[in-house]
Amino acid sequence: MARVLVVAEHDGLRLNAATARCVACARAIDGASIDVLVLAADAAPVAAAAARIAGLDRVLTLERAANADGLAAVLAPQVVSVAADYSHVLAPATTFGKDLMPRVAALLGVGQVSDIAGVETAHRFVRPIYAGNALLTIEVPVDDTVVGTVRIASFADPGEDEAAPVVAVAAEVALPEHTRLLGRSAPIGDRPDLQSAQRVVSGGRALGSAENFALIHSLADRLGAAVGASRAAVDAGYVGSDLQVGQTGKIIAPDLYVAVGISGAIQHLTGIRDARTIVAINKDPDAPIFEIADIGLVGDLFACLPELNLALDGAISP
């Protein structure tokens, strides 16, 4: 029977929503027992939140002062130590999980399945390759620990349940001191988080400047949406790289995705393929974004967006 260990992602206080979706992936493995591992300096607040994820058996806490900064080189040997009792070790395919899990896999001497988008059996998974242009079904030998990162856009939040038991564990392993955290950028304001938002409005190079991104913000405000951007807009310096959507940025699956002034390079489309409704506004009728859009509007965004805001105000208010 599969015993799955899910490594929780958190910032020391709050559990990242990606963890629950990773549990959803574990639940897709028939008959799996599922434990979530919280590595932290003080695990209590995160463990309490993790315990409520539906479908868990236990939450394990592993507290060490060095865990405060969430460094892959520090966490990996501890995950390996706990993993001895498990057939599967999963983490979300976020920058946290992508950084950590290959280090875990190499220490275990096994391969890693990146970006699990589907579960066929306990050892058979589907993952996108070539920027999502192909789906590969891959099999892990039954004698190997399955180490994987989970493409969280492919799994729905499993919801909450009665709290699972929280158990403290220890790992008597030496931790490296060769890596130090110097600083992190402050989290962005009160806008919904891009990775988990139900609605996302993204802007592309056609916005023309950082100032013009205010148009994207005002539409996002009306829709209660998170803001995203194409690589071109990030490269042009209109917004920070944390807003990039696509193959090498964030892969998202909101209910509504509005692409404004984004032509739709294949690397961008990879990031939004699973959105339920895709809206594209672009002045080029031949832009590839229209091939994937559910609703398309050909027009100049500087004219369309103010009109759309007005029309939405009429539709939203009674």
């Binding site: 190499a106 070539y130 920070g240 090498t248 809206v279 994937i292």
Partner: protein
């Protein structure tokens, strides 16, 4: 010798629209344009700038693949690398196998820094750098957008989901390059001529004595599900109606 080792993977060019073979056995890439993985090119550019700033003495590029991967290594030499190593191998290796091969090269070359792309744009694994760092028992700094070398350490700014974070790692270390680390230079014709005279060593994989047997089995490839053709609307009002009809607003 302050040496930087850079890994170059040959991939199908980023602008080629690949197709899945109809029998599901793989990707149809016959005759497709091949080139250096774009992230690896960024890694090489960064190494060259470090040498040009006086922070490093030598840049060595390495690749694993059949004999004609020499072409991509020659491109790396034309960009400015000092010498190249081709680990000759007919099979496609998994990231763990690649990491083991790189570790063998690391033990031979004793670099102060290994710079790799954060992922190959073919397999999209995003694993090799982290695996090499683990096997080497050295620090890793993935998804780098800025690297500053000083006095036995590297300060690396990383692009992470929440924004940016900066790590300080002791050298030697493995750093993987993200898109915004730099813009790689264009190669000029005289550099291509010069590259032909630079040393390119070929090492048969067997000589390195590492276990590169595949562990994972590729069962089948499938094209991604297609989305149905959408509707075009003529103005903002129609757009809002269409959204309302789908129950979105």
């Amino acid at each position: 010798m302050r040496r930087i080792l850079v890994g170059l993977k040959r991939v199908v060019d980023a602008n080629v629209r690949i197709r899945v073979k109809t029998d599901g056995s793989g990707i149809d890439a016959d005759g497709a344009k091949l080139g250096i993985n774009p992230f690896d090119e960024i890694a090489l550019e960064e190494a060259l700038r470090m040498r040009e700033r006086g922070d490093a003495d030598e840049v060595v590029v390495a690749s694993i693949g059949p004999e004609d991967v020499q072409q991509q290594l020659r491109n790396g030499l034309a960009m400015g690398a000092d010498r190249a190593i081709l680990v000759q191998c007919g099979d496609t290796l998994e990231p763990l196998g690649v990491a083991r091969v790189l570790l063998a090269l690391v033990q031979r070359e004793a670099p102060m820094l290994v710079l790799l792309g954060k992922q190959g744009i073919d397999g999209d694994h995003n694993q090799t750098g982290q695996m090499l760092a683990a096997l080497w028992d050295r620090p890793q700094a993935t998804f780098a957008s800025r690297i500053v070398l000083a006095d036995g350490v590297a300060q690396v700014t990383r692009e992470v989901d929440a924004g940016r974070e900066t790590l300080e790692v002791d050298l030697p270390a493995v750093v993987t390059a993200d898109l915004r680390l730099n813009e790689p230079r264009f190669v000029k014709l005289p550099d291509i001529m010069k590259a032909k005279r630079k040393p390119l060593e070929t090492v048969p994989l067997a000589e390195l004595d590492v276990d590169t047997r595949p562990r994972l089995r590729n069962l089948r490839h499938a094209p991604p599900p297609t989305r149905g053709r959408g509707v075009m609307v003529k103005d903002a009002a129609e757009l809002v109606s269409a959204l309302a009809a789908r129950g979105v607003v």
